[in-house]
Amino acid sequence: MTEVSVAKKDSAATDELVVLKSVNKHFGALHVLQDIDLTIDRGEVVVVIGPSGSGKSTLCRTINRLETIDTGTITIDGRPLPQEGRELARLRADVGMVFQSFNLFAHKTVLENVMLGQVKVRRTEKKQAEEKARALLDRVGVGTQADKYPAQLSGGQQQRVAIARALAMGPKVMLFDEPTSALDPEMINEVLEVMQQLAREGMTMIVVTHEMGFARSAANRVVFMADGRIVEQATPDQFFSNPRSDRAKDFLSKILHH
């Protein structure tokens, strides 16, 4: 692993929010995460890129323990991830997650999707939850769709609803697991714009993506993964104009020139 010191754009963000220490995970014989050390500071936007099968999605999913790890530690805001149960549920409420396949609750309306967590986890009053849900839906630009069911919305709209649903919990950090990979090309931008706005507002974000444009414009740091390892970390400028590792050079040459 190439150690790179990373210059922080935002000097105010200094305290560590998500810390992974020597994390290892196997899928059977496949060593999918190998000695991962990664620290994400409050307010930082970290973009994880790399070839398919490099373990970046798995990494993202270990942070709210949708995937368990074999060895190592993960702490969020100073607290280690607990075992499955009440404690873990409480911690997950503070970690927003946006999936590649949206995963909106298919039997609930858009509004109900955004209210569910508030009412059932945060115990917010229904009326208050609805106000907040409507405000968030307006903010991501799907306010007029509130009473429709997910299947009636386009992919881009569904993904923006999914972002609103995660934001409704008032999360400390947002995880994005390839949020635009299942979208038609013309819908990618509407989702990226919402994410960019979030980044500008200072949300801590970990984004697994293939959108290099987003990485350039919104990320504080790019983490490049290959074969289960973090190969390189750098600011977007450094990474895209002057990658250090051969693996990253190879990867960038393949996606940037074709």
Binding site: L66, A89, L91, R92, N103, L104, A106, G117, K120
Partner: protein
Amino acid sequence: MFDFLEGYDLLGAFWVTVQLTVYSAVGSLIWGTLLAGMRVSPVPLMRGFGSAYVNVVRNIPLTIIILFTAMGLADTFGVTMGAADDVKTRVFRLAVLGLVAYHAAFVCEALRSGINTVPVGQAEAARSLGLRFTQVLTLVILPQAFRSVVGPMANVLIALTKNTTVAAVIGVSEAALLMSEMIENEAELLLISAIFAFGFVCLTLPTGLILGWVSKRVAVKR
């Protein structure tokens, strides 16, 4: 032509059949849902109990289960279901207990196949919002699972309606018991059988039609 019907409470007997069906349907829906919850739960002990229960109970003939409720539970262990002096009520309740125990296994399996139709991402999204296991199950998974198994549940309900006739073996005065009584006393064997067969079709045919319609209406669009 229908003179022989005089003196028999045909409607009363079918009313008992309907009552047996309704109580048992509600009971097995509840118990079957709990069993399904156990079978998908993260606790190994519960999973073990759920699958052991289903595999044992659904492989025992219903007649044996119903006989056991009367001869085993009531006569041997003194379980009188709160009706020690009232035989009629006691056998009715015992029959419901047996029917629930048996059909819950089928409800459980139908529901579990419904749970398998819910994409795993639904549960992941629910968990990542901070919902606990029971909340994920009751708020997200089961509502979608139920919608996808209305058809199979109709099968279970129709089977249950017809299986209530087994309650006759412990003397519940439902349709089948009256039928055997009438066949014994009257000469109209074929006609009597046809009347009772028609009675059951009247009960089960609408069940299938209505639930088929419901199934289409509540289907989850993905």
